[in-house]
Subunit: 154 residues, 2 copies
Amino acid sequence: MSEAAPTVDADVGPFASELIAQVRAQDTYGYWEGKPDRELLAPFIIDRQRARAIPLVGDPDPQTLTRISQFYNAVALSIERRSGVMASPVQQLSSEGFGRIVLIGGRLVLVSKTIRDAHRFGFASLERLEADGEALVEAALAAIEHYPDAACAD
Amino acid sequence: MSEAAPTVDADVGPFASELIAQVRAQDTYGYWEGKPDRELLAPFIIDRQRARAIPLVGDPDPQTLTRISQFYNAVALSIERRSGVMASPVQQLSSEGFGRIVLIGGRLVLVSKTIRDAHRFGFASLERLEADGEALVEAALAAIEHYPDAACAD
């Protein structure tokens, strides 16, 4: 069931590559066409300077909510690519940016993440984004290995 | 872990009793105080006549969304009461009334329900409500029995 990973800039890891493919796939108006991959990942990176500029309390804007969906879709697709288990996201977020995201595969909960302060969603660096995404994917793959029957149930 | 079911009118089943307890528990302003249980369940019952009065296409109003949450909370509490497995709902619904509700217990998906036409949410009769609620609870209990390790995982 595993497919070849999407091709992107040589210097980003497999998770970031999947995320880039996600963003480009949703680029209905060609906004990102011809722009380099790193530029496209820039909105996901909230370094110390950008973090300081974001108020501690606030409501997430639609772009931030889209990025959260794209990130977890990339986690879901990475899981599917490496295990063959189709992962579907269910995302419950209040307008104040609190809630929960789960990825479901068969009868198994592959990922369950409590979301707080969705308006501050981002990663300190590209390396952090890669590591955090990979950690979620790998924990899900370990769960599939541990509960293979539940993961493959209807 | 099982507790006594809430006491209500003698003539409603165990699922409807749990739902009544749910509605009363959320009755912060005492709106339902002193009113009989059957009256409180009335908004959940969409008989043929009421069904005809609801447009086929429409957005769910906040009261309908609340009733959907109350129904699935009652399913969750019934599961917990009878199995000891804590069930938490994650509900993703678009403003057009499409989406998905899952109940999660440990690493196990206890209930997964696709929602369409949320604005028409309701049951043809009190007997139908009881039967549909019970069917969800019983399917979840069977899943817990089938995947006990996943249901009790962190």
